[in-house]
């Protein structure tokens, strides 16, 4: 057992804990936010600016108008020199601040296995120094389209630009600084939705409203079994799972929140585009192609998606058909169900949109190692696409007219 090795054992325990709770590994005041980056810390949720005071955390409405300290970690506090009015009140109160909460799977978490670990021609010794990658479950949410916020500097493990829905929401209203939660997990499906909602750190009475994006994009139809169809989520169960998550959200979210349901991906475009291309592990001898990888995955029953990563076109079509069926349920819920504390909306899947409208070259869009997830270059396109969809809905709040003033007074607002 790999997890019985010294040192690895500790990492396994940490990962097991965050796998079940999605809560930060290190959270001294138990408010759901952490000052540590990895282990479900600030790479996933806004950094806690005071981790020994449970009253201080990102996303809350300011405590005592933040006259003397920054209770919501958005970097805005103090009083105006001439009027002695609270800056938080003056710059933020009327701006309708809100946080971004992303509930999703490995696409939302930005799963990325560095090619330098697999490709012998690129293999690099420093590339192995990736304990933080492991503590983040081989995900890179800090650079992802949902809640990315870090610039990628010289890094052989990941390269490209960062743009995200959170960054855009923050640029729209600087009072939203640090108010993000990425509750995505590799392999998550509608079954896990309830657990993800449970792990939201939001107080209905003391915190700002939230924009929740529910994007379980593929694992209800993707599994690793030979009889993959029998293991797909049935429409009835899918509806029940989603409704359970929405009912729980209604209990947790502050009034005037919004929930956006995202259509499932239809990834039948992967096999035809990738099958005949060389996989990084076969680059040296030109002897392993993606179709070999898919066949091996399916033979061992360990692949991420038997339905789509499969030479059988009928099976790929059936998988897409089921995904479409589940998406119609999301659309139906968004049209017909109402909730007390939030409005529910539905948007097209950004990957489907980009593929159907020929906006991308598929082979340049996918991760080279697994060929299933969007790569770093794709993250920017996903952000742009989803943001365009969101702009058509009443979910983003107004642009804060005080943004320039906030930047002038508070600069980077304490960073992330």
């Amino acid at each position: 057992d790999f997890c019985k090795l010294p040192y690895i054992k500790d990492i396994c325990n940490i990962l097991n804990n965050s796998y079940t709770s999605l809560a930060p590994v290190e959270d001294f005041d138990n408010d759901g936010f952490s000052a540590m980056e990895t282990g479900r810390g600030s790479d996933w949720r806004g950094r806690d600016c005071v981790d020994n005071d449970p009253q201080v955390y990102p996303g809350r409405r300011p405590l005592n108008s933040d006259y003397f300290s920054d209770s919501n970690c958005n970097g805005i506090w103090g009083t105006k020199n001439d009027t002695f009015l609270s800056l938080e009140q003056e710059l933020c109160k009327k701006s309708q601040p809100r946080g971004l909460i992303f509930i999703g799977d490995s696409i939302g978490a930005h799963f990325h296995m560095p090619e330098v670990w697999i490709n012998p021609l690129l293999f690099s010794w420093p590339g192995l120094n990736g304990s933080s990658v492991i503590l983040d479950e081989i995900d890179w949410p800090q650079f992802g389209f949902a809640t990315g916020f870090k610039n990628i500097t010289r890094n052989i493990l990941i390269q490209g630009l960062t743009d995200s829905l959170y960054l855009r929401l923050r640029n729209r209203n600087r009072c939203n600084h640090r108010d993000y939660q990425n509750l995505s997990q590799n392999g998550a499906s509608s079954y896990e939705g309830l657990n993800h909602v449970n792990s939201i750190a939001r107080n209905r009475t003391t915190d700002n409203p939230a924009l929740v994006i529910y994007a379980m994009q593929g694992n209800d139809v993707c599994n690793n079994f030979n009889d993959t169809i029998n293991h797909m989520t049935s429409p009835e169960t899918f509806r029940r799972n989603v409704m359970k998550s929405l009912f729980l959200l209604d209990e947790k979210l502050p009034p005037q929140s919004h929930v956006v349901l995202v259509e499932l991906v239809e990834a039948d475009f992967i096999f035809p585009a990738m099958a005949e291309r060389l996989h990084p592990i076969g680059r040296l001898h030109k002897n392993v192609f993606y179709k070999n990888l898919y066949e091996w995955f399916n033979c061992m029953q360990i692949g991420p998606c038997t339905g789509w990563l499969n030479a059988n076109q009928t099976l790929r079509d059936i998988t897409s058909k089921r995904a479409r069926k589940l998406s119609t349920i999301l659309k139906y819920i968004a049209t017909n169900e109402t909730f007390k504390n939030f409005q529910v909306h539905y948007i097209q899947n950004p990957i489907n949109y980009l593929v159907r409208n020929d906006k991308i070259n598929i082979t340049e869009f996918l991760e080279p190692v697994d060929s299933l997830h969007p790569n770093q270059k794709a993250q920017v396109l996903l952000t742009e696409t989803v943001w365009n969809f969101l702009e058509k809905l009443p979910v983003l709040g107004p642009v804060n007219p005080h943004n320039d003033e906030i930047i002038r007074i508070f600069g980077e607002q304490g960073g992330h």
Partner: protein, 113 residues
């Protein structure tokens, strides 16, 4: 099936290590030692000890052994009843020859270690 994820990890690690050894014109023993060297302190020395123990095996590995076959010999991968032999890398020999090579390799000390 057939060892599942542990088998997959073994196959990929062995595949990368074998190819790195080839690129650096060294044997699997030295390539594996180089891998140990970049591990965190606490597991670096156990890694060296394990590699030293299997040295006779690693330095005399048949050239026909692919990463899939190595993990099959080592025992991380297996062929379950009613299941086919799953392989990521192309097969380099016919079934009969493969069985002979596997038998010879299994007689060496690695599986016991």
């Amino acid at each position: 099936v057939n060892g599942g994820m542990s088998c997959a990890v073994c196959t990929v690690l062995t595949g990368v290590t074998m190819q790195i050894a080839e690129l650096h014109e060294e044997d699997l023993f030295n390539a594996t030692k180089r891998l140990c060297n970049v591990l965190p302190n606490k597991i670096r020395h156990p890694c060296f000890r394990i590699v030293d123990k299997v040295e006779p095996y690693l330095t005399n590995l048949s050239e026909k052994i692919t990463p899939d076959l190595f993990c099959l010999v080592y025992g991380t991968c297996r062929v379950d009843k009613g299941q086919p032999f799953c392989h990521l890398f192309p097969l380099t020999m016919e079934q009969e020859e493969m069985e002979n090579v596997l038998k010879k390799e299994r007689e060496k000390m690695l599986p016991k270690i």
